[in-house]
Each structure stands twice: as structure tokens, then as C-alpha cells.
């Protein structure tokens, strides 16, 4: 590739990125508790569940949260640096907004604000498209995905936003083999 557009970006180390364990310790403990209940050594009582404990069923409402979205997209590779979008802080946990009741019958919203490393980044639309493809592949169809650049972070903000949220243009772009190839490479680092 030619000279990178931003040749010296600020980089975060992997351990500096937000994770579930770091932000919600009690959540992890709860999961461990769950695991213990299924342990072979102490089979869970078949007895009726405690009256005030919420019962887990198949229809259990399970909304997703910003951390889950972050985990899905932070590991996407930057198209020009051998780094992830999380490491470059192009995607940040506090710039992901989720509105979700968890009900499978209701439309939910995911809004991701991306922050290009430089304000004239010509790759902003490609990065946005990569994030959109990743989320559309990972989330059920009830999620409406909106991707914009962080206000003030790009000189053609309005143009980039309009393009990234025009589903006809997105659909057409996703039929472009070369573009799909580049996006596949970006997504290859996703867990």
C-alpha cells in the first residue's frame, strides 16, 4: 500500500481495552455461580426454584449491551495499519449506544460513532462499512444499525454519515467483489 494516510496513530495496548470482566465483576461471579450449579459433584436440586429468584427460560429476555457490540467490532483490523479498530480508538465503548428491550418482537437500535484517527481520513466510509457488515452478520434482523462519525472528527462528516446509512448504497457496495475482499480481510481478525 502507498504511504499511510495517518503514518503515526496513537495506539492502545490490548490490555487497555474495556472488557466485560473489568467493568462488571459481579456479572462474572454470577456466571461462576451458575456454572457451579451444573457441576457433576453437586447436582442442582430438582426442587422448585426459589420463589423470588428469576427463572431462566428459553424466552428469557436478553438485551444486548454496548460491551457486546464493542467486542464484536473492536477486533476488526484497520484497513491500513496492522492494528485493530479498538487499539486505534476508532471504536470506543462510550461511543456505542444501544436501545434494546431484549424482546424478539421489537425493533432495537444500535448506534456506533466511529472516530477516525485524522479528520481527512478517506478510509472512514470503508471502516464504517466494515463495522456495518460485521454487525449485520452477527445480530438478528430486528437490530437497526446506525453508523456515524463522532461529531467534529471528520471534515466530510455529513457526506460520510449519509452514505453509511443509505441501505441501497450499502447493499450495492456489498455486491462489489473487490470491496468485499477488503472487508473480509478487515474482519479476518474478529474472534
Amino acid at each position: 500500500m502507498a504511504e499511510p494516510i495517518n503514518s503515526n496513530p496513537t495506539v492502545l495496548e490490548e490490555w487497555q481495552l474495556p472488557t466485560r470482566a473489568e467493568t462488571k465483576n459481579d456479572c462474572v461471579e454470577l456466571e461462576l455461580g451458575e456454572l457451579a450449579r451444573f457441576s457433576l459433584f453437586s447436582p442442582p436440586p430438582i426442587a422448585e426454584p426459589e420463589a423470588d429468584a428469576p427463572e431462566l427460560t428459553d424466552d428469557e429476555i436478553e438485551p444486548i449491551d454496548a460491551q457486546e457490540i464493542f467486542d464484536l467490532i473492536a477486533s476488526i483490523s484497520d484497513p491500513e495499519h496492522p492494528l485493530t479498530l479498538g487499539q486505534l480508538a476508532v471504536v470506543q465503548l462510550d461511543r456505542i449506544y444501544v436501545t434494546d428491550t431484549g424482546s424478539p418482537d421489537e425493533i432495537a437500535k444500535v448506534h456506533v460513532e466511529i472516530t477516525p484517527t485524522i479528520t481527512h481520513c478517506s478510509l472512514a466510509t470503508l471502516i464504517g462499512l466494515g463495522i456495518r457488515v460485521r454487525l449485520e452478520r452477527s445480530l438478528p434482523p430486528r437490530y437497526r444499525i446506525k453508523i456515524t462519525v463522532t461529531p467534529g472528527s471528520h471534515q466530510s462528516e455529513e457526506q460520510v454519515n449519509k452514505q453509511l446509512n443509505d441501505k441501497e448504497r450499502v447493499a450495492a457496495a456489498c455486491e462489489n467483489e473487490q470491496l468485499v475482499k477488503v472487508i473480509s480481510q478487515m474482519l479476518a481478525t474478529c474472534k
Binding site: 424478539p104 418482537d105 421489537e106 425493533i107 438478528p140 434482523p141 430486528r142 437497526r144 449519509k162 446509512n165 443509505d166 441501505k167 441501497e168 448504497r169 447493499a171 450495492a172 455486491e175
Partner: protein
């Protein structure tokens, strides 16, 4: 009423034949399906014509059932039903990239197509659907042209665009020109529809024939536009255009913005005998009626297609 899981990818548009019990649908799976009523039995799937998503379909109102299908592969295919077979009649080439809309004029004499290449093309068609002549390439829009739609009884075409504008086009002698430019929407105009109107006598009564257009947009509004004035339009047998004192033009005004219903992009709008209907990404179907000189929302159907977006009527 009926539910049809027929395509392998999103359905971009459906078109109901103006006279016959036929419905066509087109999809991201690159195919077109034709159904026959009243049970909407699948009578034909038109595959292998297009190499990319088929975005738009339109029925010709005149003669044997004839369908135009516009695709992201930049081409438009024409099909005619000569019972019992569906015959591939023509492939219209010329657009530089994705064709986003196709529409036949009410008299079947013209086909309009529009594309991401920012142009609207008008094709003149013979009755046998064998001969297509491109008679105009209109390049006034500054961005993708999303949709084209004809007036139900006049040779008046509307195009809507990513440039937030709606343009109206008419035939001036033998040249198609832009007769009006409707500005008001604050984002992409995804669709528009003219109010159904009975054919009007073409002699000049001095009055402006009533006409209204509804449009829908990414700005989450539906707007209604009214024709206020019209000049030019010399009829055959009258003075030739060089001797005319007036220029062909139409004056349209935004009558109103319909009450807000949608919370996301509105993809389609249409008229019925009851009023206007709109659908969009929020899964809502809204119906508006005109009573006491005012538009009001008469019905909202939430999640009319479950949790999916709605693209078309």
C-alpha cells in the same frame, strides 16, 4: 392478507399490474417473481437475466402483460407474457452503474429508468416491445436518482434523489426538459407518488389541472406538493415552439408536511382512495386521511412486517 416467503434475500419492490391480477416482486437474490391472483400463485420466476440485485419492477398498463426490471448490474430487462410463456424481449443498456428505478408511463409509450449515475433515461417503446429508443438522458440531479414515477394520466414524470430534491419532467415538442424542482426535504427522497386523477380534457380551459404529489424521505417526513401553475405546453396543431411566447414550466408548492409518525427512514409512499400511506425502516405502516382541509393520521400499524424494514407497497 397473504404472506409469501418467496425470495432468498430482501425483496426490494413489488408491483401490482394496473388491470390484470398479476403481481411482480424483485429481490437481492437477483430474481424476479410473478404471481397470479387471487391466490398469488407463483407463475414465473425470471432468473438468469441479472447478475446483481434487482431493485425495481414496473408493469406496462397497455397491451400484453409486460414487465420492466432494473438491476444493480446497470441493465434493465423487458419481459412479455405471450401465454403460456414469458418471453425475454430486450436488455436495455446505457446506465453507468446501479439502476434504482424503472417506471412505465400511463400510455405505455415511454419507460423511465434512473440510476446511481445521477441520470434519468427515457425510452420510447413500440407496441410490440421490441424496439426501445433512448430519447432523453436527463442529468440535472447532482446525486443518485432513487426513484421515478409517472403521473397517472399525463406525460409528467417525477424523479427523487439522494440530492434531497424532486424533479418534474415533461416533453417539450420532442425534447424532455425539467419543468420544476421541488425543494424541501432535508435528506434523501426515497419515493414519491402522484394522486390518482381522472384523465383531463387537453383543451386549454385556462385553469390549472389539479395535481398533487406525495413524497417520502430519510428526513422521516412525508410531504404533499400541489400544482399551482403551468405554462407552455403547446398542443399538436398549434404554434410550433419557436413561435411560443411562454416556456414550458410548472409551478409546484409544498402544501404541507404530514403529521410525524415515523422514527426512521421512510422508504415508500402511495395514495389510495382513503388517502396516503407510508412505510419505512421503523416497520410502521401509516395511513393519513384528508378531512376538513387537514391531513390527519388515521391508522398506524406497528411492526407491519414483524421486526423487518418495509421497502415497498
Amino acid at each position: 392478507m397473504a404472506s409469501k416467503p418467496q425470495h432468498k434475500d430482501r425483496v426490494w419492490q413489488v408491483a401490482v399490474h394496473p388491470r390484470l391480477p398479476l403481481v411482480a416482486s424483485c429481490s437481492g437474490d437477483k430474481t424476479v417473481n410473478v404471481y397470479r391472483g387471487p391466490d398469488l400463485e407463483l407463475v414465473k420466476d425470471l432468473t438468469e437475466a441479472h447478475t446483481r440485485s434487482v431493485r425495481s419492477v414496473s408493469w406496462k398498463a397497455i397491451g400484453a402483460p409486460t414487465l420492466a426490471a432494473g438491476s444493480f448490474d446497470a441493465q434493465v430487462s423487458i419481459w412479455t407474457n405471450e401465454p403460456p410463456t414469458w418471453e425475454f424481449m430486450a436488455m436495455l443498456e446505457g446506465h453507468e452503474n446501479e439502476v434504482k428505478g424503472v417506471a412505465w408511463s400511463h400510455d405505455g409509450a415511454f419507460l423511465a429508468t434512473c440510476s446511481r449515475d445521477k441520470s434519468v433515461w427515457i425510452w420510447e417503446v413500440d407496441e410490440s416491445n421490441e424496439d426501445f429508443d433512448c430519447v432523453a438522458v436527463l442529468q440535472d440531479h447532482t446525486q443518485d436518482v432513487k426513484h421515478v414515477v409517472w403521473h397517472p394520466s399525463e406525460l409528467l414524470l417525477a424523479s427523487t434523489s439522494y440530492d434531497n430534491e424532486i424533479r418534474l419532467w415533461k416533453l417539450d415538442d420532442d425534447e424532455w426538459i425539467c419543468v420544476s424542482d421541488l425543494k424541501g426535504h432535508e435528506s434523501t427522497v426515497w419515493g414519491a407518488a402522484f394522486e390518482p386523477a381522472p384523465p383531463q380534457p387537453e383543451q386549454d380551459t385556462g385553469e390549472v389541472p389539479h395535481a398533487r404529489l406525495a413524497s417520502c424521505s430519510d428526513d422521516m417526513t412525508v410531504r404533499v406538493w400541489t400544482r399551482k401553475g403551468r405554462t407552455g405546453g403547446t398542443q399538436p396543431g398549434q404554434l410550433p415552439s419557436v413561435a411560443r411566447w411562454d416556456i414550458l414550466a410548472e409551478e409546484w408548492e409544498q402544501e404541507c408536511v404530514l403529521p410525524t409518525v415515523h422514527t426512521d427512514t421512510i422508504y415508500a409512499v402511495d395514495w389510495s382512495q382513503h388517502g396516503i400511506a407510508s412505510v419505512g425502516a421503523d416497520g410502521r405502516l401509516a395511513i393519513y386521511t384528508f378531512e376538513n382541509n387537514k391531513w390527519t393520521v388515521s391508522k398506524i400499524v406497528q411492526n407491519a412486517h414483524g421486526v423487518y424494514e418495509i421497502n415497498t407497497f
